[in-house]
Every structure is written in C-alpha cells, then in structure tokens.
C-alpha cells in the first residue's frame, strides 16, 4: 500500500477502498484460525478457489479467509455473506454444492446447518445460532469480517481512525483521562486499571519509555489472546500506538508464545504492512509521532507471563521475576519506565476512543466495564471463544451459550483463572462474572480460561494436575514456591494413589498459606488456589480418596477397576483387539473378561465398545 502521510489521506484511502467494495456482493468467508486449520480449512479454501475458477465465478464471488470466528467446536466454519448463512463442519467435497446451490440458486443446504441440540431445529443465520446469540462481540466480532493479512480490510472497517483521532484531536493527558474514565481494567489477570498504569508510566522520569504487549498466554485452556492476535492483529497494534503516544514512548515490544506460530506470522505481516504505509515508524501521519514495534517469541516458560519475568526474557535473561518494590512503570525493561498490557486490553483501546466513554461504561458491572472474551472449553457442548458483557452469570455462559455439558453428564464445577484460579462449584453458577465476584468466591478472572467440569472430572485429579503444572513451571527463585508446590504435589499425588493419610488436608491447607504468603510473584502467591478452592468446595471428594480409598468420579487410576458387564457384552472381540496389554480374554460368543492384574486402565476398551458393556467401578 502507498504511504499515508496525513489523517486526511487515511480517510481518502478508506473511502477509496469502500467505493471498490459492494456490501451486497456474495462472499464466501472461511474461518482460518488455528482451530479450523487443524480441521483442514486450508483444503476447503483451496477447493472453493478451484471451484470458483472452474465455474468462471472469480469476479462475481469473493473468497475471504478470516481469523477465528470462535465456534471452534464446529470447524471448519464457513459463512456465506451477505445473507450470513452459517455452514459448519464443511469439507472440500461440499464446496461445489455450496457454490451451485447456495450462491447461485440461493438455496440453503440443510445438511451443513447447525442443529439446535435442544429443539432439533436447523438454524440458517449465524446470528440465530445460540452460541453467538447470547454474545456481545464488540472486540472479537471483527475477526470474522477481515482477512488478518490484509490491512485494507482493517482500514475498511474504520481501522486506524482512533489513532488518527488521538494524534490530531487529543493530548496525551486527555487520552489517559479517557481510558481512566472508561474503567478499562487489565485483561491479563490482575485487573489493574489501565488508565492509572498509563498515567504512572507517563509521569515516571527516565527518558526513554517502553510499551509492551503481553501475548505470552500461558494459562492452559485459554486462547483468546492468540485468536485476537491471529485474527485481528491491527487492532492490537493500533491500541499499542495510542498507548505509546499517550505515555510518550517510541518503542514497543510484542512478546508472544512460540507455541502460536500463526499468531507470530500474522502479527509480523501486519507490522510490515503498517511500516510500509507509514503508520509505524517516523512521523506517523505527519504528526511528528515516532513509534516502532518489535516481535519477540517466548521460549515456552509459563512464568514469563509475569511482567518482570517477561522483561527479563526480553533482555535475553532467564525469565525470573523480581520484587516489585519499584514498579515496572518506573523501572522496567532496561530499567526504563515500561507500560505492559495484555493483548485484549490493547484491543479495547481503539474502541473506547472511537465509541466514547459513555458507550463503553454502559456495558458491564459497577466495577468491571466492557466485555470479556472467555475460552469456554472442557466438558461443554459448544467449545469456543465467547465474548460477553461483564456481569453475565456463569450459568448463562455455560448453558445458554455453551449448550451445557455433553451427554447425560452433570455440571460439577467451572474452573476459571488458569493455574492461579480456582474451581467454582455448581451451586455458585448464578454469580455474575466480573473481576471482584470471581475473587470473592476463591477464584479469579485470570486471562479468561473457563474450563467446564462434569461428574467425570475428579477434583483431586484437577488439583494434582495444576500442582504438577506449577511445580514444573516454578522458576525456582523462591524456596516456598519451588519446594512448596512440589511437596503439595506429592501429597495430592499420594491421595490420588489411595495413599492419603489422615491430616493430609490440614497439611495442604497449612502449606498453601506458606506458599501464598512467602512467594515473590503472582505465580507462587496464587499457586495454592486450585488446591484451596477444591478443598473448600469439594472436601468430600478428598475425604473419599483418603478414608474410603475411592475416587467418586472414577478417574484416579489406582482407585478404579475396569469390568465387563456380561449381560451387555456380545463378545464381538473389539475390546480384546485394542487392549494394549492383552488383559482381556474370551472366546467367540462368550462374554469377555478383564484381568485386573494386567489392566493398566488406559480406557482404550471403553472408547472401542459399541454396546456400553464396559464399566468403571
């Protein structure tokens, strides 16, 4: 794209792009987020392209690959615009029919529609799918409208107009005041007011200032930052530019997990594009504002999501946190004032500038404004990314949007906040989700992971899982965190093996207190949360493991046995064939049996049995 020298030129280019676009022109939109990639959306795209060429329709029908639409469970997802017809689980074989039937003859293909699990009704339009209906996609919605690798698409939907506005109409102080009044709180976990942070950083002496985008999304089960960076990188860049101007910074960094190759690639492309057209670099839009951004890939260390550890990593050190007697806004990267915000926080900024404080504060609760993107995953029917206004209840999110738990499972708990968070039991499903309420019930917002658990999930096993994670990810600097999490893991592991002893729960509680009180950074301070919250709400499960040597959810291997129900077994031999240790015996027409001594409880037989004859007791 040619160089844009002034706000007026930006507006002219926008108008020119829009003139070349017909909103009524048919367009096939294919989700190309990591989830749909894994389902093979590239092959679907290729098939569409080949088919359009074959039929000579390339000029009449647009083909657009976009970022993640959020409904990953149903990928590859294809949207036919302008009617917004929603097709799910599309295969390359379906493409010819979609073009000839839907695009040319305007017929809907029933087979590819989403079926409402409750009513059995087939839903045609995206907006009517319950998963989308309950959401408010002000940040995430644009993912489905633009090709992340085309800056024209972002400019067409009003991109960089917020940057243009702040550079020409607002002073840095006015921007900070706007962000403060909007009530925007950090989406990375802490929930610290973004405007206050910006102000402290701006006022900090020390010459050079830095801004950082934290895209080291380490919480297992959370991937909203990846999808934003992947699907709409320009919105994050624009937010950073506005922040940099307000704070007085000319250099920014994006620290992104190396496990997210597509996000690294797309943000790299986006940076090249803005640099080329002069929106990044020197004298941006002819206003004299200079700013540039570099991308650094993380090395796969969870602790680097912590701000001081992240900065150490950017400096080429091992990512160990330091004490924060002096805040990073005063002395951060290279000992200079540094303002770090998370991906989603940055993406909120252009929106607040464009739509205004009044509008933004109209969304959310008293203390938590705006929306939050959650990754709704685990034992839930509609897995995916959901953006909802703050204050929606957990029940609405899990049932109305998520479609409840699969099969005849019963909802047991929702885990939020990743390894620093906790498990919220079913009885508390009606609490409104915002920063403060989640903390009150012993969990936290975190970056927005929301893992649904049903009666097949063992809470002792979950505590063990998180402790295992934390003991590996502890950087080792503080003894309480390094050794404390390890000791806690050993105790919980023993409980799950049926070797728990009286007094273990009390010992865990005591250790939790020490680890939380005596560790330096948030990793250690919050490490006991998964244990504390599961003890608080599911103490009976711990006691069943310790006293009765029983795992109520039938998960902990040492406490369960696999048996075959002889009445149901048809002796088909499938289980016998898949058993990796030859623990299953039986002749033709004779119900099979499992040798508990040989059985390693891998579960292969259960998934293989077509007759529901296998039981775990």
């Amino acid at each position: 794209m040619e160089r844009i020298r002034s706000p007026r030129e930006l507006e002219e280019i926008r108008q020119e792009i829009l003139r070349g676009r017909d909103p009524d022109k048919p367009c096939i939109t294919i989700c190309s987020g990591t989830g749909c990639h894994a389902y093979g959306c590239e092959r679907v795209t290729e098939a569409f392209r080949a088919e359009l060429k074959k039929q000579g329709l390339e000029k009449r029908i647009d083909l657009r690959t976009t970022g993640c639409h959020g409904f990953c469970e149903r990928g590859p997802v294809v949207l036919i615009n302008p009617q917004k017809i929603f097709y799910q689980r599309v295969t390359p074989e379906d493409t010819a029919e979609i073009i000839s039937e839907t695009l040319l003859k305007k017929n809907v293909i029933e087979r590819l529609l989403y079926i409402h699990p409750g009513t059995g009704e087939r839903i045609v339009r995206e907006d009517d799918v319950p998963f989308y209906k309950g959401q408010m996609r002000i940040i995430f919605g644009n993912n489905g409208k633009i090709d992340p690798r085309k800056i024209e698409d972002y400019i067409a939907i009003g991109g960089y107009s917020a940057l243009s506005k702040v550079l020409t109409e607002l002073s840095p102080e006015e921007i900070i005041d706007t962000i403060k009044r909007s009530g925007l709180r950090g989406r990375g976990g802490g929930g610290f007011p973004a405007g206050v942070k910006w102000e402290s950083c701006r006022n900090a002496p020390g010459g050079k200032h830095y801004v950082i985008c934290n895209a080291d999304e380490g919480d297992p089960g959370a991937y909203m930052d990846r999808s934003l960076l992947e699907g709409n990188p320009h919105s994050v860049l624009e937010g950073m530019m506005i922040g940099a101007y307000a704070i007085g910074s000319d250099e920014g960094y994006i620290y992104v997990r190396h496990e997210y190759p597509l996000a690294v690639r797309n943000v790299g492309v986006a940076i090249d594009q803005v640099r080329e057209c002069g929106l990044l670099g020197e004298d941006i839009l002819g206003t004299g504002f200079n700013f540039d951004i570099k991308v650094n890939r993380g090395g796969g260390a969870f602790v680097c999501g912590e701000s001081t550890a992240l900065m150490a990593s950017l400096e080429g050190q091992a990512g160990e946190p330091r004490a924060k007697h002096i805040h990073t806004v005063e002395s951060g990267l290279w000992d200079k004032p540094t303002n770090l915000n998370n991906v989603e926080t940055w993406a909120n900024v252009p929106l607040i500038i464009n739509k205004g404080v009044e509008w933004y504060t109209g969304i959310g609760t008293e203390t938590s404004k705006g929306t939050k993107i959650f990754s709704l995953v685990g034992r839930v029917n509609n897995t995916g990314l959901v953006e909802v206004p703050m204050g929606m209840t957990l029940r609405e999110i899990v049932y109305d949007i998520g479609g409840g738990v699969p099969g005849d499972g019963k909802l047991k708990a929702v885990q939020t906040g990743g390894p620093s968070g906790g498990c919220i039991p079913e009885s508390l499903m009606d609490i409104p989700v915002d920063f403060d309420r989640l903390t009150e019930v012993g969990s936290m917002m975190g970056s927005g992971g929301m893992i649904v658990m049903d009666d097949t999930t063992c809470m002792v096993d979950i505590a063990r899982y998180f402790l295992n994670f934390l003991k590996d990810e502890s950087c080792g600097k503080c003894t309480t965190c390094r050794d404390g999490t390890r000791r806690m893991y050993e105790i919980v592991d023993a409980i799950s093996q049926g070797e728990g002893r009286e007094g273990d729960i009390e010992l865990l509680e005591e250790l939790s207190w020490v680890v939380a009180e005596a560790s330096l950074c948030a990793l250690g301070q919050t490490a006991p949360n998964p244990v504390m919250s599961t003890i608080r709400y599911f103490r009976d499960e711990y006691e069943a493991h310790i006293k009765d040597k029983r795992c109520p959810a039938r998960v902990c291997k040492a406490l369960i046995t696999y048996v075959i129900d002889e009445e149901k077994c048809t002796a088909c031999g499938r289980c016998k064939k898949v058993c990796p240790v030859e623990a299953i015996s039986g002749e033709k027409k004779v119900p099979h049996r499992i040798d508990p001594e040989k059985c390693i409880r891998c579960g292969a037989c259960i998934t293989e049995c077509k007759f529901d004859a296998l039981e775990v007791v």
């Binding site: 034992r379 979950i462 990796p580 293989e608």
Partner: protein, 161 residues
C-alpha cells in the same frame, strides 16, 4: 551447523547479547535441537560465557539439548485436553513408542514431548505429529495416527515419495 550459517543467524541479531533467545530459537529451527559444538561457537563469537547460554537453554522449555527424531510428537496437556482424557492418550503413546517423555525412538523417527496448551481446546485431546494436528484423539486412535508417519518414511526409503 556450518559456522558460516551460525554467523548468519548471529548477524541477523547484530550479535546483541539480549537476542540470545531468538538466536537459539533460529538455531533450533534449523537443527531440531541445540548441538553442543554450535553453542560453544556461539559463546566464542558473542564473548558470552557458555554457562549463561546453558542457563537460557535449560530454563526455557522450548529448547532441547538432545537430538530429536524426524517427527516430533507433542501431546497437549492443557486443562481442556486433560479433562477430556489427554493423560490416557499420552500413556498409550509412551507404550506404543516404547519411550518416555523427552526421549527419542531408537530408529530416530519420533520424539515424544508434551506441551501445556496449544490453544486448540475445541479439538482436545490434541496430538501434533511433525506439525500436523490430530484432534479428538483417543487411546484407540493412537496407533493409526502414528502408522501414517512410519509409512511415509518407508515410502521415502523405497524412493516412491
């Protein structure tokens, strides 16, 4: 790796000490692991103590000091995959390959590793083999998923690929 190629990587980062993580990432991308002699060379060229490079290489999970197989098998152990039974998938893989996490098969075809979350939770449990995603894995599907890559290699050996 040839010294010239290493210098190219170091040059890309202007021989800046602060970019050591990026340099090691680039080296590993080419070599699949961090060979000792290459680290010694980097240490010499950057005038950076080898112990510091070793500290970085062992602190971050992404780096491997041991050679890895042709196909890296990464089992996602994120929470979403965990509640859907990822541990059982991993157990089956260990058994079928006859190796533990962090090890390589004797034929140098596979290395087995785990990752904390790939952010593809809808597809969980998820296993990535040589960069290809295999979603909704079950212990029963493990064998057929690996078989494909064994075949790929034997085809290559026969000169058919």
């Amino acid at each position: 790796m040839k010294q010239q190629a290493i210098d190219q990587i170091l040059g890309k980062y202007d021989y800046e000490h602060s970019s050591i993580i990026g340099m090691l990432q680039d080296l590993q991308e080419k070599e699949n692991y961090l060979p000792e002699k290459d680290l010694e060379y980097i240490s010499e060229r950057l005038s950076m103590p080898l112990t510091r490079i070793y500290r970085i290489a062992t602190f971050y999970n992404a780096f491997s000091l041991a050679p890895r197989g042709r196909y890296l098998i990464n089992v996602c152990l994120g929470t979403a995959c965990h509640v859907r039974g990822a541990a059982r998938v991993l157990d089956k893989l260990k058994m079928d390959l006859g190796i533990d996490v962090g090890e390589m098969t004797r034929d140098r075809l596979f290395s087995l590793e785990t990752v904390n979350c790939l952010g593809s939770c809808a597809l969980g449990p998820i296993v990535v083999v040589g960069g290809e995603y295999h979603g909704q894995m079950t212990p029963a599907r493990v064998a057929s998923a690996i078989k494909k890559y064994r075949k790929k290699r034997s085809r290559k050996r026969d000169g058919k690929d």
